[in-house]
């Protein structure tokens, strides 16, 4: 085989160029280090503008040893003087724009780390091979390149998704940066109503553009545009006000009452700007995660091999019944399928996917796995897209001295030296104290020589149980954090420099568990995955995917900077469930599923099972036991004294098509959101009546809705009821379905808002959103909705394994279930009927 390289021909003709070394052939035993060095040196001399030169090197320690592949990015054109090890063919790509040349060992194509492949193999290699110029490569070389189309395909699956993710994040960052830089001066501020503080803009410009920019954003208000601590509120709306003839200033309304916080002091004049610091920081962290992956800095050296082709993850071998460690003792009750999941998690090498529909005990399994790993002296990271899931998982951990949990949170760390680590440290001491007490009780019959120990340990146990945060310094807390073996953090937190490279704290974990995977975008997921030797992904792709916000890109589309197709592709990227794809792609040996649920009363489960038709959920310990356990004992009465909700009703449809006197109800559009006063009123009445019942005061209650505007209305209305704060807090217990995912309550009231005759739009017909909304209730689910609006709505429900998509009238089925097993009522229950005339 001949080797030619005409650099003059390459220069000025960007594209892909194959450079073959003599004797190159897959599997051939060659040692061409000298030639390679010569070639590279030649390239470097010729291309003095080359900025990036990446060399993939294959190292073989011994004749029989398994080859090890090393990626060496070279920052400059410096070429290693001596190249050891066998080299095969090379493929070069020369970019005119970036002046970058990338060289890859041909044999490594299937294993190529993404950083290299994304540049080299972003197209069809086979196609490129046909364009090879025989002047530079002889026939054998061309044949060789043509023989590897399979490898090219594999590489494409590796590089392409990452490039797309980077493109998406780059765009988000660019837009966020633009938003962060823009300020809007206001000359007057009317802060009489903290829920709608009005700012009068000096140079109003276009209301439409501003609305687009502010929609769903948090705004900062201050005299200094660079003040990152300026008061922050939620954008409500923009309106025009005629103040003097000929002048129509724009008024921006901002809500400063979110979270029930005190209204801040606001300047009379200053600037408004979109608060983008958090988003920019999060995007930077995610971009850094992609960079770390391309630089092969993952804790699992094989991550780049299987990340985009999960079939390559090492299979989990079936555990022999007599294998050591098989008969582990569970720290708490587990059903057989939960135990099987823990078994697999204990045996996994690369990856395990755990699918768990609502209430099937995902958190229980996570807690059990953490505890089993900790018992074996290993460290676990529990991550999730939101704090809630992390907190839940840490709360469920068995109280064992061997388990040392800690939750890492930047927001909390700002409040103290090590955030809330102190509270975990105190809790751990209490656990230690109890364990010592337990040992002492057992040792009571032991020999009298133990007397000294007994007194010493008794004192220690007592002290442990009495510790307070004041007993520990910041250094003590940090030391505990370094030795915590179950660390919790949000996905983004795990990518921050504080977490990844904190002195004394190892960010390498034996196992990384990511919960609520379906809610996280792949760049978010990647951050904790980079830190784990083994990865366990837990989720339910039949729940909500991450939120995609079109408005982020709208301006770029309008300015023709970004084609609309690209936005659509970004939407697919964000909302298509990576977990769903992954769960179907992986072999049986690296996935497991939970199907026995313990959360919902069987009647509620029956409604939720409409979304799991081909693989329905089963009642944990049998329907009778679950029904007994999920009693609510509530009774709500009509104005005339008759009961409309009885203790045996667990699924209730409260029809809001018409008001109490029979007038048709109407919902109202607020920007892109909606609200419904009738449902807000009905909801407030129901919650107030529940509050009056002693049985209800023992139960937890939440109100959820698909629409943000309805949440605002519900909070305002429920606040007026002055409900006991320890039982129901409108800020905590009223939320959108998207925000409420991961939570559960005994009683859940869902307000569906819409009233039109023919339901339009996909939002309320997304089966995942309906599934989440209706699966939050343990004992009683009350649906406030117009039956006539929702009855005919078609809901597309795909099979669990990605089979046929069925368009069902799911809402109608739920209404029918409520009629059959539960109750149906309407606003007339609040009205005293006139006695029939004699």
């Amino acid at each position: 085989m001949k080797f030619y390289l005409d650099l003059a021909a390459i220069h000025g003709r960007p594209g892909r160029w194959a450079v073959l070394l003599p004797g190159a052939r897959p599997g051939a035993s060659v040692s061409r280090g000298v030639e390679l060095s010569r070639v590279l040196g030649y390239l470097a001399c010729e291309f003095f503008t080359v900025r990036k030169l990446i060399v993939l090197r294959r190292q073989v320690a011994g004749v029989t040893a398994k080859p090890r592949y090393v990626l060496r990015p070279l920052a400059s054109t410096r070429i290693p003087s001596a190249q050891a090890g066998p080299w095969l063919a090379l493929v070069c790509e020369y970019h005119e724009s970036t002046r970058a040349l990338v060289v890859v060992d041909r044999e490594l194509v299937p294993l190529a780390p993404v950083g290299v492949s994304e540049r080299v193999f972003s197209g069809e290699i086979a196609c490129e091979a046909t364009r090879l110029n025989p002047a530079y490569c002889d026939g054998e070389a061309v044949t060789f390149l043509r023989s590897v189309p399979a490898a090219a395909t594999e590489v494409d699956t590796l590089g392409s998704p990452l490039a797309r993710w980077r493109e998406y994040l780059d765009w988000r960052r660019k837009i966020a940066e633009t938003k962060a830089m823009e300020t809007y001066a206001f000359t007057e501020c009317d802060a009489r109503n903290p829920r709608a503080v009005c700012f009068y803009l000096r140079d109003p410009g276009s209301a439409g553009k501003l609305r687009q920019r502010f929609l769903n954003e948090e705004l900062r208000v201050g005299a200094d545009p660079k003040d990152t601590r300026a008061p922050q509120g939620t954008f409500r709306r923009i309106r025009t006000v005629e103040t003097a003839p000929g002048t129509v200033p724009l008024v921006v309304e901002v809500d400063f009452s979110a979270g029930g916080r005190e209204p801040p002091r606001l300047p009379g004049a200053g600037v408004l700007r979109v608060a983008m610091e958090g988003e920019l920081a999060a995007l930077d962290v995610q971009l850094d995660g992609l960079r770390r992956l391309t630089e092969n800095r993952a804790c699992n050296p094989r991550l780049t091999e299987w990340l985009f082709d999960l079939a390559k993850a090492l299979p989990i071998p079936p555990t022999a019944p007599d294998a050591p460690g098989v008969n582990w003792r569970a720290d708490g009750p587990l059903n057989p399928e939960q135990r099987a999941c823990v078994d697999r998690a204990l045996a996994l090498d690369d990856l395990l996917l755990l699918w768990g529909p609502p209430g099937t005990g995902k958190t229980t399994v996570i807690a059990q796995i953490c505890s089993q790993y900790a018992r074996r002296g290993r460290r676990v990271l529990v991550a999730s897209q939101a704090n809630l899931a992390v907190e839940q998982a840490l709360l469920r951990l068995p109280a064992l001295p061997q388990v040392r949990p800690a939750w890492v949170s930047t927001a909390r760390r700002r409040e103290g030296s090590a955030g809330n680590v102190g509270s975990y440290l105190c809790d751990w001491f209490v656990t230690v104290g109890r364990a010592v007490h337990g040992d002492l009780v057992e040792a009571k019959t032991a020999s009298p020589t133990e007397a000294r120990w007994s007194s010493f340990l008794g004192e220690w146990a007592e002290r442990c149980e009495r510790v307070t945060a004041a007993d520990f310094s910041g250094d003590d807390e940090l030391f505990y954090l370094r030795h915590a073996n179950v660390v919790g953090a949000t996905c983004n937190e795990t990518g921050k420099p504080d977490f990844v490279a904190s002195p004394g704290f190892s960010s390498r974990f034996d196992l990384v568990i990511v919960d609520e995977v379906s809610k996280a975008t792949p760049p978010e997921l990647l951050l904790p995955m980079l830190l784990g030797r083994r990865i366990l992904l837990v989720g339910d792709h039949r729940q909500l995917p991450p939120l995609f916000r079109d408005e982020h890109f709208e301006e770029a589309v309008e300015n023709h900077e970004l084609p609309r197709d690209a936005v659509e592709s970004f939407r697919d990227l964000v909302t298509a469930s990576w977990f769903e794809h992954a769960f179907r792609a992986v072999p049986e040996s690296v996935r497991c599923a939970l199907r026995r649920q313990y959360r919902m009363h069987p009647n509620i489960m029956e409604a939720v099972n409409l979304f799991y038709a081909d693989q329905p959920l089963a009642a944990g310990d049998g329907e009778a036991a679950l029904a007994r356990e999920k009693k609510h004992g509530l009774q709500l009465r009509r104005a005339d004294g008759r009961a409309w909700l009885e203790p045996q009703h667990h699924l209730v449809w409260f029809d809001t098509a018409r008001d109490a006197v029979g007038r048709p109800a109407r919902d109202e559009r607020i920007g892109t959101s909606r609200r419904n006063h009738l449902e807000a009123e009905a909801c407030a009445r129901i919650v107030a009546e529940l509050a009056a019942q002693p049985e209800a005061r023992r139960l937890s209650v939440a109100v959820i809705s698909f629409y943000k505007a309805q949440i605002g209305l519900l909070r305002d209305r429920l606040r007026r009821e002055e409900l006991p704060a320890d039982w129901f807090d409108p800020w905590r217990d009223v939320n959108t379905v998207d925000q409420f995912q991961g939570s559960e309550r005994d009683v859940v009231i869902v307000s569906l808002v819409r009233t039109e005759a023919r339901l339009s739009g996909e939002f309320v017909r997304d089966f995942r959103r309906i599934n989440v909304a209706f699966s939050r209730a343990r004992r009683l689910l009350i649906i406030l909705a117009s039956e006539q609006t929702f009855a005919e709505a078609k809901v597309a429900v795909p099979g669990v394994d990605g089979g046929t998509v069925e368009a069902t009238t799911a809402y109608r089925s739920i209404y029918e279930l409520a009629s059959r097993n539960g109750a149906c009522a309407g606003p007339e229950v609040f009205v005293q009927r006139k006695a029939p005339q004699a």
Partner: protein, 183 residues
Amino acid sequence: MSATNCIELDLACTFAPCRRLNPFHRVLLRAVETFPVGARPGFDELAQRLCLGERVFLDQAWKDIQAFRATDDDDFMQSRLSVAGEEALRAGWFIAGEQTVRRHTLYFRRDDGCAVQAERMEFAVVRAVRMPPAWSKQLTTERIAEVLAAQKPQERLQPGERLIALAADWSTAQEVRKAGLHH
């Protein structure tokens, strides 16, 4: 200020950065105190009996104890409590840095020793104090620390700093009364 005469007293206050004993420090000091040399368990056994799972917390605590010179030997198995160690166990904290002495003049009611806020007041000297009054024994570091915190906010202690010793100079103490007041 009442018409009662006061005692004007100079105090040399010794301050030092201190570190509170955490439960690991305390348990190790207690182990040294409880188990005599020869019958003392090692860190591995101790960690197991204390249900700590790992000895790493004890190792770290022992490093601190050595730094504070709370024992007379660096080897846990051979060590005994030093005076500093006994004091730390009693007080609940270690001295963890350089000591500094600052002088303060404070005023106490002659009859009961109650501290008097006397900033920006003018006093007339009545007589020198020949004998420390009976209440002089109540002038403990804890009490003077409280008086300083209340009367001299500019003397605010650094985080972790404590008043660890006190020397009252009774040779220069004098009985005073507010200028203009006459019995």
